[in-house]
């Protein structure tokens, strides 16, 4: 370790959706790495300390090193020639990069989707169905006397949710921290989060919907069939007790995770939870909060929504945005509809998509932007090495509660940012597609209203 260090206060950790902004980083300016991250959790510490500049070409095509300009040109050509190109990822990218990505999708007339679709996409869909009573994390810290974690495991996925925002932290009306709160965990497994809970309810796997539905009935004073006990493995008295606690708290909050969104029922599970929380507002103040992560996936939802009207799974084939999860989402585009080119930004779908989707990636030209080698960059045709958002670049990240935080980079990277790369590709795609954009205009008037109404 060299003497040449500097300290950055109030730096931002972008590993999980907590986006904690109280990091104190010690940066070794000779070694180009962060040697200490005060206030970081275990995940944050590894996020900061493991980030080293890899020795890779700035850009490569087909495994051969090329110039930045050549890679931009090739990418623009690929995306323009394709009939059904897709852009996917965006979770570990700043809002500034996400904006450029949506512009490319618009100009190239393809699909754009974020990691939301395989994460909290079903939460977004539930929101569109029933709405949501929610809050910023500070209000949880200040007021929540009943905190429920449902199908999520913050101890291992969002460690500082406990210490900084929701459990042990003290707030305006919660002067004694955890002593003033009741913490409930709903999870079939005794996870690392279990010790923090006053009450641990362990339903049978994939029976969340049934359990929430019964709770809704109990909250409303309706009869619940005794079969609920057999179905969920949770005694009726336990459910009754929880229903009463929820109605009688001063400010209740439910955090939930993949246990609901990925399970059988998907957006119906999350929709049921949202509805339950809405019901509870007849009795007291109650809110619900998806425990979102990776990085800036929340920002991707925001940017896509303000630019297109829809949070993820957006398609521009006809010259304007359309939304349909299950049709315009990345897994479906690849595995079923045979997307013919793909650009993956700051994500690694080759390592977490279903096999059939990965098979399709291997058949088509793939462009990858990532700070480090990944399964996806290994199979990509055009590979850009990027600097790391937050660590090397300015920008904005949205916390899981939709609060935007400005990043404070620690040291410089020799690689360009994804904003620079995407902006260059955008400008070229814009030029290449001007004709397509005017042809589409006339085509639309021929197709007429039926398409507009029926197809989206």
């Amino acid at each position: 370790m060299s003497e040449n260090t500097r300290t950055i206060k109030n730096a931002v950790c972008t590993f999980c959706g907590c986006v904690c902004d109280d990091m104190e980083l010690t940066v070794d300016l000779d070694e180009h790495r962060i040697t200490k991250a005060k206030n970081a959790c275990i995940l944050g510490r590894s996020w900061f300390s493991e980030h080293v500049i890899e020795d890779r070409p700035i850009a490569a095509i087909g495994g051969k090193e090329v110039s930045f300009e050549e890679a931009v040109e090739e990418s623009a050509q690929i995306l323009t020639k394709a009939k059904f190109p897709i852009i996917y990822g965006l979770s570990e990218a700043s809002v500034e990069a996400q904006r450029e990505a949506v512009a490319i999708a618009d100009y190239m007339r393809g699909s754009i989707d974020s990691t939301s679709s395989v994460c909290h996409g079903p939460t977004g869909m539930a929101f569109q169905g029933v709405g949501e009573s929610t809050t910023t994390l500070g209000e949880v810290k200040n007021r929540a006397d009943l905190v429920i974690f449902w199908g999520c495991n913050p101890a291992e996925a969002h460690p500082r949710l406990f210490t900084r925002y929701a459990v042990t932290t003290k707030g305006m009306f919660i002067p004694r921290g955890k002593k003033d709160r009741t913490v409930v965990l709903v999870d079939p497994r005794k996870t690392a989060s279990a010790p923090v809970a006053n009450i641990h309810i362990r339903p049978k796997p994939a029976t969340d919907f049934e359990m929430i539905w019964a709770l809704r009935a109990l909250i409303k004073g309706k009869k619940v069939n005794a079969s609920i006990e057999k179905v969920t493995g949770v005694p009726l008295e336990t459910l009754q007790d929880l229903a009463e606690r929820m109605k009688n708290c001063n400010f209740g909050v439910v955090f939930f995770g993949m246990g609901l969104t990925m399970g059988r029922g998907r957006y119906f599970n999350t929709g049921a939870l949202f509805s339950m929380v809405t019901d509870l507002n007849e009795y007291t103040h109650f809110v619900v909060k998806p425990a979102r992560g990776h990085g800036n996936v929340t920002g991707a939802d925001q940017v896509l929504t303000w630019q297109t009207g829809y949070p993820f799974g957006v398609n521009f084939n006809l010259g304007y945005p359309r939304f349909n999860p299950g049709e315009f989402t990345a897994v479906d585009n690849l595995a079923r509809d045979g997307a013919d080119a793909a650009m993956f930004i700051a994500s690694d779908p080759a390592s977490n998509f279903p096999k059939a989707a990965v098979e399709q990636m291997k058949r088509i030209p793939v462009i990858s932007l990532d700070t480090r080698r990944s399964v996806t960059s290994e199979l990509a045709y055009v590979v850009f090495s990027t600097s790391a958002w937050g660590l090397n670049e300015h920008g904005t990240a949205y916390r899981m509660d939709d609060i935007p935080i400005t990043l404070r980079p620690a040291f410089e990277s020799p690689y360009p940012s994804d904003v620079v790369i995407l902006s260059a590709i955008k400008n070229r795609v814009f030029e290449l597609n001007i004709d397509k954009r005017s042809i589409g205009m006339s085509a639309r008037s021929d197709i007429g209203k039926a398409t507009l109404h029926a197809s989206m």
């Binding site: 109030n10 902004d21 904006r99 512009a103 618009d106 977004g124 929101f127 569109q128 709405g131 949501e132 009573s133 929610t134 809050t135 910023t136 994390l137 500070g138 209000e139 810290k141 200040n142 007021r143 900084r164 925002y165 707030g171 305006m172 009306f173 809405t278 507002n281 103040h285 809110v287 925001q302 929504t305 303000w306 630019q307 297109t308 009207g309 829809y310 949070p311 521009f316 006809l318 010259g319 304007y320 945005p321 359309r322 939304f323 300015h394 904005t396 949205y398 939709d402 609060i403 935007p404 935080i405 400005t406 001007i434 954009r437 005017s438 205009m441 639309r444 507009l452 109404h453 989206m456």
Partner: protein, 545 residues
């Protein structure tokens, strides 16, 4: 970019310069209106056309967290109204809450070139700036929600008015906002902290503070700081029968100091709480007629789809109780509440018709149109896309009668609307959509066509049907750029952020910071917005008005 333009032979309406339908040339250079331009300037032939300054929307909801939540909430609405891109413009979605691009372009296609987002929690100001940056063509700014800010309330409770004013100034700078916004002052604490209740009277104290104390503190601070636009208030009891008394008391609280009442139509109701409302438009407008220190925007209700989105969370919850539709509640720590509910105004419903008629009464009863500004509180009373129709309702008595005949007659009978024969002139329309809002906002370069003004100009074919006429200006120039010509987009444009930077004593940060460290979830140092979010912007001076 065209550097110089001369518009010839058009009929000019420019109330700030007392020009009422006079044919004269308008010259433009470097984005501003000038006395003359060289002969080589581009000419726009405007014979048979009406020239006005670009429209100024003083109160709408077009960007920020609640707007984006409303957008996300309504895919079924966007689907029916796609907005294709062109060779120069981005694509988007329409509907009651259009995407940012569509919002900017649609304002432009109606001849509006400035719009103010009316309610932003400080913690989300950064988000709002990002959205406004993606809202093309128009110049824009936003009002920042401060009335339910717990820190500021504590200062008021302790009688620390001087520090309060410093803190307000600090917040304006930290968020890059245009003016303080007060929504249901004092109503957040009972909502969040006392099981979803509300404050019901301007003098009711909750935790030691009443709405009136809050309003007073802001009125005084805004006056002392000489803000270009005063405190902008959404009154208590909005939407409830009998609330006109609260509105009168709110206006009285200001004394002879300036105050802007937002979407005042929603605060003109007689009757008993929980029962059918009646119109008290005449009482309210009489007060305004006698008090030139008050301005208001109407918040006209238009039949059809709306989306109620407000920092007044208890109000949204009340509306949700009516239709059991999807509902969003969103708390912002220490600062604000928020509620969102889809809503449809229907002509056959008594209350909806009454609201519609009250708005029209306000317009038609005012003695001074400079004080009564056109708005629909977009999208709360209906989309801003209704402005042309609203203009026709004001300008065309025959059309108004037709519309009156189609709606709930019981409600109509409870108002004066059938007896009001007034028809607005083009000059008056130019006041309530251009000159009036620009003056109320303290925007000296907007709302008129005199030399030095921003070259934000709309040129309409003069038509009998005023809805048609205002729906489709033939030309729209923004900062001198020919955005629309012959009804088609010719160029894209980013627009500027309008904000204020009142001076403050830096010592106030030492007072704010400890509170922040205890009760906020973000670091104090990360809260103020840095320059990287500013892009094109213009500071409006807080000097003498």
């Amino acid at each position: 970019m065209v550097s110089a333009t001369r518009i010839v032979n058009g009929k000019v309406y420019d109330p700030i310069n007392n020009i009422d339908g006079v044919i004269r040339d308008i010259c433009i250079e470097d984005g501003r209106i000038v006395e003359s331009v060289p002969d080589s300037a581009t000419r726009i032939e405007a014979q048979g056309m009406v020239i006005m300054p670009g429209g100024v929307d003083i109160h709408c909801h077009i960007a920020g967290p609640k707007v984006n939540a409303g957008r996300k909430l309504m895919p079924e609405d966007h689907r029916k109204d796609p907005y294709p891109g062109t060779a120069v413009t981005r694509s988007g979605s329409g509907g009651i809450v259009p995407s940012t691009f569509t919002t900017g372009y649609r304002y432009a296609t109606m001849g509006y070139t400035t719009a103010m987002e009316a309610a932003v929690p400080p913690l989300s100001a950064r988000h709002t700036l990002e959205e406004l940056h993606d809202t093309p063509v128009i110049d824009k700014g936003f009002y920042v929600l401060l009335a339910n800010n717990i820190f500021l309330q504590n200062l008021i409770k302790e009688g620390r008015q001087e520090e309060f004013q410093q803190a307000v100034a600090w917040w304006m700078n930290a968020t890059r906002a245009y003016t303080p916004k007060l929504v249901n002052p004092g109503g957040d604490e009972p909502w969040k902290g006392k099981r979803n209740t509300n404050v019901h009277d301007i003098d009711e104290k909750v935790d030691g503070i009443s709405p009136r104390q809050i309003i007073e503190a802001f009125v005084i601070a805004a006056d002392k700081m000489n803000l270009p636009h005063p405190a902008h208030i959404h009154c208590n009891n909005l939407g409830h029968s009998g609330n006109y008394r609260t509105t009168l008391e709110t206006m009285r609280t200001a004394g002879d100091k300036r105050l802007h009442i937002a979407h005042i139509q929603f605060n003109c109701y007689g009757g008993e709480v929980g029962k059918q409302p009646a119109s008290k438009a005449a009482e309210i407008i009489e007060y305004i007629n006698q008090h030139p220190n008050i301005t208001c925007d109407v918040g006209q209700v238009m039949f059809g789809n709306a989306l109620s989105m407000t920092a007044d969370a208890p109000l949204a919850y009340m509306l949700r109780g009516i239709n059991k539709n999807k509902w969003v509640n969103a708390d912002t720590e220490c600062e604000s509440g928020c509620g969102i509910v889809p809503f449809t105004y229907q002509g056959h419903v008594y209350t909806h018709t009454l609201q519609w008629a009250i708005g029209l009464e306000l317009f038609l009863l005012t003695e001074n149109p400079w004080q009564v500004i056109l708005s629909t509180d977009h999208p709360n009373g209906g989309s801003f896309m209704n402005y042309p129709k609203l203009i026709r309702l004001l300008m065309d008595r025959g059309f108004r009668r037709q519309e009156i005949a189609r709606v709930n007659q019981k409600a109509i009978a409870k108002t004066m609307i059938s007896d009001l024969d007034r028809e607005y002139s083009l000059y008056e329309i130019a006041i309530i959509t251009r000159a009036g809002p620009a003056r109320a906002l303290g925007l000296k370069n907007k709302g008129h066509l005199g030399p030095g003004a921003d070259a934000d100009i709309t040129i309409h074919d003069e038509m009998e049907d005023k809805e048609m006429m205002f729906n489709a200006p033939r030309y729209v120039l923004k900062s001198g750029v020919h955005i629309i010509a012959d009804h088609e987009f010719r160029e894209d444009h980013t627009g500027r952020l309008l904000h204020i930077t009142p001076e403050y004593d830096q010592k106030i940060e030492e007072v704010i910071q400890p509170f922040f460290e205890s009760y906020y979830s973000v670091q104090f140092e990360n809260y103020p917005i840095d320059k990287s979010y500013m892009h094109d912007n213009e500071v409006i001076s807080t000097g003498s008005t």
